[in-house]
Symmetry: C2
Subunit: 393 residues, 2 copies
């Protein structure tokens, strides 16, 4: 059975669990604005005019769409009712709502969960105009809980794709250690990885980030053509791919030995060990029922107690259809993260575990692993980096 069929079936069971009557996704011109949950409702196709996709608690799958999109939706074979319209979606929409008479309608908007927030404000205003004078206007709720469950709880097909994405990006990281030479720039490494990505018939799940030595620009900065590999540098590579629409996200840490060095300097080793320890300790506690912020705090405390500056991002985000999948976040309770650190970890969610410290004169010390939450713990999807990769160039 294909993914869309399986995920829409899963949506039906989540609607039952949450006791929500229908999930209604309202979109238009999906080549301009692509609702992040559309992946679970459609294959690649574009929707041109305003379209409503409805999944009901009782197991119905209904689409109301522009007349010219009907043939594609029919070919997909997921929806049992497909209604094409010419001039306005309103009449058919109200007719379908009257037939179902749902007491709760989960709509595609959310304050905190970007993946559940595909409804634009203009479309919200349109929808409210359509529903004026009907009882349904009072029955709209956010689809964020539904979407957090649907995106978070990976089914077998999805886990397989993530595993494959992890495997390909691990090969890319390995290639870096073979490729890198003294005097190469951050940009040279980036280019090699983009070539590797293409050769493997995948796409990057985000622009690769290359951090070479102490002068690199930390964060989402573009690779520099001026910053070049020299002895004594830490080389951090942050690289992941999309395999059939599912993302990996991994960081590996390399150290370029200096003349006569056989082991890295003490401060580099201590940084590496601190990062590894923070990942190990937080992974040991990661299991269903924990709050996102509790896991983040474990790693954050280890870093701060070791005397390093606190990392200014979340310890772990979910991976899936997006490299930063929404819903429960292993992050601190900062305003920008909304309610996501307050959510509970669930079985079959896939998370990154990532953090960094900075080592004066050497650079950015950071590792990122990918894990899958199991019934009572978590499994690493990546082959963990437990030893610092030493480069003799």
């Amino acid at each position: 059975m294909n993914l869309v069929k399986q995920k829409t079936d899963q949506a039906i069971s989540i609607l039952k669990e949450l006791n929500i009557d229908i999930w209604l996704t309202y979109v238009r011109k999906t080549s301009e604005i692509h609702d992040p949950s559309l992946y679970f409702l459609m294959e690649d196709s574009w929707l041109t005019w305003q379209t409503v996709l409805i999944i009901t608690k009782t197991g119905k799958k209904i689409v109301i769409c522009g007349r010219y999109d009907v043939p594609n939706l029919e070919k997909m074979g997921v929806y049992d009712t497909i209604i094409g319209y010419d001039e306005s979606i309103k009449t058919d929409l109200l007719k379908i709502l009257d037939e179902i008479d749902p007491s709760s309608i989960a709509i595609n908007y959310s304050i905190d969960n970007v993946a559940a927030d595909g409804l634009t404000h203009g479309m919200w205003l349109r929808l409210n105009k359509f529903l004026e004078g009907t009882p349904y206007i009072e029955r709209l709720i956010s689809s964020e809980k539904l979407l957090a469950a649907l995106r978070g709880r990976k089914i077998g097909l999805e886990i397989d794709k993530i595993k494959k994405a992890v495997e390909i990006s691990e090969n890319g990281h390995k290639k870096v250690t073979e490729f890198v030479k003294l005097g190469m720039s951050e940009e040279d490494i980036e280019k090699m990885l983009l070539k590797f990505t293409k050769e493997n018939s995948v796409t990057v799940s985000y622009p690769p980030l290359i951090h070479v030595g102490p002068t690199t620009s930390i964060g989402h900065g573009k690779a520099s053509s001026d910053i070049k590999v020299k002895k004594g540098d830490l080389i951090n590579v942050d690289y992941g791919v999309f395999y059939e629409g599912y993302a990996s996200d991994l960081q590996r840490m390399n150290y370029v030995l200096r003349e006569g060095e056989v082991i890295p300097p003490k401060e580099v080793v201590r940084a590496f060990e601190t990062v590894v320890k923070a990942i190990t300790t937080s992974a040991e506690k990661l299991k269903p029922g924990m709050h996102g912020w509790e896991i983040d705090k474990i790693a954050r405390d280890i870093v701060v107690k070791a005397g390093y500056k606190e990392f200014k991002h979340a310890l772990g985000h979910q991976i899936g259809r997006n490299v930063h999948d929404s819903g429960c976040l292993l992050g601190p309770k900062w305003e920008k993260y909304g309610n996501s650190p307050l959510m509970l970890v669930e079985e079959n969610q896939a998370f990154t575990l990532e953090l960094h410290v900075y080592v004066e004169n050497h650079g950015y010390a950071s590792i990122e692993e990918d894990v899958l939450v199991t019934k009572d713990g978590c499994d690493f999807l990546s082959n963990r980096q437990l030893e610092l990769s030493l480069l003799l160039l």
Copy 2:
């Protein structure tokens, strides 16, 4: 000067013209939801956390973004003020608004114009929470007028890219006439065009649509592997590409001669001539100051008077950063088109002119051309199809 610099400068002059103090675009996780106007504000880069991009009537360009996105924005060299934050965007946002004290704030939402409607409803609610108790909450207006002007009025660089996109898609259409053989399926033709697209290092601006003979599924339907070219068929191909982010959108019409035929049947010729006449007559009237619906009506009336069924779409949409660019539409006053047919045609807008009629036993008779509005008329960007392409297979 690069495109983003030129378009943000153009935005400043439009703000002056419309007497709007600032244009404020509020986005987050742009890999999940990509605001359609972001193209004019940023190069390829992704924005991870909540970000506000502000262009002021007085010529200031300001960004407030997550700390890790700062280096990329600095490298872009477009914004004179770049503020990085860690935990919440609110403080910096209110500070900047207090400094400017704008009396009108054009925000990225719109009921009718999808290209100006990038703000999700969740983000709208967040923004309103931030602005609670400030005077700014009453000063928010839709950015649709600003965006319609900015997207519609193409600058030289943009026109050049559209022309190149048109040229490449014309070559693709020519290739179809050389490639097609009896017994080939719609899917075969589609595959050839996708290969051609890749070979030309561009991407399709929409999935190519192939209509072969009388049994084809009309509209945005996927090409069929079962519908095969036979004598007496009309073959319509709808194919356009993105060249450096700018779209073309063209349809060409071919007829497969039957045994002994040297000219197509009368009904095919009449259909072809009706479509050509509708395009010619509407193009003659297309100029700045006309309403979109007036141009559509010219073509629609010709088709209906000739005794054909009315086409159930707009005569012409704009092309640009999207193949269906928003703003003024040459379309009928149907609810789904909102206010766009009521808008005025302006100089330097690029439109398609497209319509179809159906010919019993032969198929879909449709042509689509691309035009650029000039000071007092319009120029064809495509080499018009004025003769039916006859295939002797």
